[in-house]
C-alpha cells in the first residue's frame, strides 16, 4: 500500500445558480485523501456532499462555479480544461452512484457499458476489452460473466447491478473511486456484500475510495477517516474511531444519537430538532446554531473554521461543549 496524499482539497467552494442568484452549496471545504484509504463524507441531504463529488469530476450543473483547489496527483482538477478533465474522468477517478437501476444505461448491453471507456481511454481493441470485462465481472463476483456481458441491466437484481456498476467504475484501474451513496438504494442484506466488495478492492488494488453517505452505520463499516458536513461546511473531520466514539461537534453527536442501538429500543433514539438549511438559507454564524442545544452568542455571529483538537481531528465548534465529556 503506497503512502502519500492522492487528493488534496483546499477551500473548495461551489456556487449553484438559483433563481435568487448564485448560492453556496459547498463552502470552504478542505480535506485530503491518502492513497489506499477509505475516506467518508457524511451529512444529511443538502449538506453539499454530492456537489463535492460532482465538483471534483467537473460534472456540476450548468452555470455552477467553483473556487479553491482540488489537487489530484499534482494537478488541480478545478483548473483543468474540459478535455484534460475528460481524460481523468473514468480513467484515474471513477464514480459509482446511488441507484444502479438508473445509473446503468437500460438499453445498452453490459459489455458495451463495461468496455466502452476502456477502449476509449486505454486504446485497446474489442476482444482485449472483452477479456478484461470478463475478469472484472468475476472480480465483483458476477456469476457466469461471459453470459452476463450479453445481458442488459434489467436482467439483474439491484445488488448485482451495483456490482456491475462497480466493475464499470474499475474498468480503467482508477486510483480514486467516488462512491456516492453506493448502498442507499439496496436492501440491507445486499449492502454488506457491496461494502465488503469495496473494502476488498481497496486492499487488492491499492484504490482510494471516497464514500459519500448519510448513513453513519455504513461509515463505521468502511471509512478510515470521516468528514461530517453540515450546510456545505465541515463540522468535524478525523479518524473514524475518534469521530464516532468521541465526537466533539454537537451535530456529530446528534447524528449518532439519532442512530438506533442494538441494545436500546426505539425510546433511545433522539432526533435532532429542526431541519437542515436549504440552498441559500444557511444562517449567519455557525450553520448548525439554530438546531444546536449548546449554542452561545458567538455561534450566531462568527462562522467557525475547523480547528485541530487532537491528532488529525479537527472540529468547527469553538465553544467545544463536548470537550471533556463524550
Amino acid at each position: 500500500m503506497t503512502v502519500g496524499t492522492l487528493l488534496e482539497v483546499e477551500d473548495l467552494t461551489v456556487w449553484l445558480a438559483t433563481r435568487n442568484g448564485p448560492r453556496k452549496a459547498v463552502d470552504g471545504l478542505s480535506f485530503r485523501v491518502d492513497a489506499g484509504e477509505v475516506f467518508g463524507i457524511a451529512g444529511e441531504s443538502g449538506s453539499g456532499k454530492t456537489m463535492t463529488a460532482m465538483a471534483l469530476l467537473g460534472l456540476l450543473p450548468h452555470a455552477a462555479r467553483t473556487g479553491g483547489r482540488a489537487v489530484f496527483e499534482g494537478r488541480d482538477l478545478l483548473a483543468m480544461r474540459p478535455r484534460e478533465l475528460r481524460d481523468v474522468r473514468g480513467r484515474s477517478i471513477a464514480m459509482v452512484s446511488q441507484d444502479p437501476s438508473t445509473s446503468l444505461h437500460p438499453m445498452l448491453s453490459i459489455e458495451t457499458q463495461v468496455t466502452e471507456h476502456m477502449r476509449h481511454h486505454l486504446g485497446i481493441g474489442r476482444s482485449e476489452a472483452r477479456g478484461r470485462a470478463v475478469e472484472l465481472l468475476s472480480t465483483v463476483r458476477i456469476p457466469d460473466p461471459e453470459r452476463a456481458l450479453k445481458a442488459h441491466p434489467a436482467q439483474f437484481s439491484g445488488g448485482m447491478r451495483q456490482r456491475i456498476a462497480i466493475a464499470v467504475a474499475l474498468a480503467c484501474e482508477p486510483r480514486l473511486l467516488l462512491a456516492d451513496e453506493p448502498t442507499t438504494a439496496l436492501d440491507v442484506t445486499v449492502q454488506a456484500g457491496i461494502l465488503r466488495l469495496l473494502d476488498r478492492l481497496r486492499r487488492e488494488r491499492d484504490l482510494a475510495v471516497v464514500v459519500i453517505t448519510h448513513d453513519l452505520g455504513v461509515m463505521s463499516a468502511v471509512a478510515d477517516r470521516i468528514c461530517v458536513m453540515y450546510g456545505g461546511r465541515t463540522a468535524e473531520i478525523g479518524p473514524r474511531e475518534t469521530v464516532l466514539t468521541h465526537p466533539r461537534h454537537p451535530y456529530t453527536r446528534g447524528l449518532l444519537d439519532a442512530l438506533p442501538h442494538p441494545e436500546g429500543g426505539a425510546a433511545t433514539l433522539r432526533p435532532i430538532p429542526g431541519s437542515p438549511p436549504s440552498l441559500g438559507g444557511v444562517p449567519e454564524g455557525c450553520p448548525f446554531h439554530p438546531r444546536c442545544a449548546f449554542a452561545v452568542d458567538s455561534c450566531r455571529a462568527e462562522r467557525p473554521d475547523p480547528a485541530p483538537v487532537g491528532s488529525g481531528h479537527r472540529v468547527a465548534c469553538p465553544p467545544d461543549p463536548l470537550g471533556g465529556t463524550a
Binding site: 445498452l108 466502452e116 456469476p143 465488503r196
Partner: protein
Amino acid sequence: MSSAKPKSGTPGTGRTSARPGGVLLRFLARRLAAALLLCVGITLVAFTLTQLVPGDPAAANLGQQAIGDPAAVAAFRAKYGLDQPLPVQYLTYIGNVFQGNLGMSQQSHRPVAEDLAEFVPATIELALFAIVLSLLVGVALGVVAAVNRDRWPDQVLRVVSLGGVSMPTFWVALVAFYLLSFKFDLLPGTGRLDPVMSPPPYTTGFYSVDAALAGQWDVMWSALGHLVLPSLVLAVYTVGMLMRFSRASVLEILGNDYVRAARAKGLPERVVIVRHVLRPAMVAIITVAGVAFGSLLSGAVLVEKIFSWPGVGQYAYRSAVNLDLPGIMGVSIVVAAVYILINLLVDLLYGVIDPRIRLT
C-alpha cells in the same frame, strides 16, 4: 477497516432469461394477426361510408342521355352488382379482395389493382424520400437545439421549427416551385421524369429503384432529381415537427442518471449524445415519425396536384369526384394497409432500440 471480512458469497443471482428470438417471433405473429383483422375492419368502414355518401354512381358515370333511360341505368347497376343487397355486395367485394381483385374502376375502366400498382408506389416513393430527409434533418437539428438549450442556436431553431409547422403546404409548394424550378431552374419541377424519358421496366413501381435495377442510370438520376423538390416541400412540415419532438425527447433523456454516469466515464460528448442519449430518445422520435409518415401520405394530395405527381392522392381525388366506389375502396384499403404496416414497423423498431421490450 475492521468489520469487513471478504468471505462474501454471491447474494442473489442474475435473472438471465434471454430467448429473444422466440419472443420476437411470437410478438410479430400476434401483431400481424391483429393487423389483418384491422384491415378487414377498415374495408367494412370504408364500404359503409361510401354507401352513406349521397350520390348515385350511375348518375355520376352515365352520360346525360343514358340517365334518362331506365334500361341503361339498370344495366349499369347490374354490371357493377349494385342491384344486389348491401351485405351481398360487401361479401362479394371481400371475397374478390382476398383474390387480389379490387374491382373495375368506373373512371379509368381498368382494374383498380392495376391503377393502384401504378399510383401507390409513386406516392410511397415520395413519402419515403421525404420522411428519410425529415428524420435526418429534424433529429439532427433537434439534438443541436437540445444540447444548446436556451442559447442562440436553440432560439434560432425554435423559429425555424415553428415556421416549418406553421406554413401551409400548398403555399410552400407554390413558392418553392416558383423559386427553385421556374425562376432559378435549380431543380426539375413537375412529373416523375424528364418528358423525353420513358419509365423504367416495372419491378417495384419506384422509378428510382426500378431504373437502378435495370441499369438505366440517366433515368435513375432524373427520377431522383424529380423527387427532390416535392419531397423538400413535404418535409418542411415534418422537419419542424420532428425537430420539436427530438428536442423535447433529448432534453428529457439528458436529465437521466445514466447520462451523468456516461460523462463520468470520460467519454467524448459526441459518444455520450449518440450512444447514450439519442438511442433512448429515438423511442419517442420514431413514434412521431410513424405518425408523420401517415400525414405525408395524406398531405401528398396538394403537393401531387401542384407538381403533377401521378400519385395516389390524385387518384383518390378523381375517384371521389366521380363516385368511383371501387377506386375509393381500393385507395382506402391500401392507405390503411400502409398505415398498419408503418405501425408494425414502429413497434418492431421499439424492440430493436430497447432490449427490455424484446425480452419481456
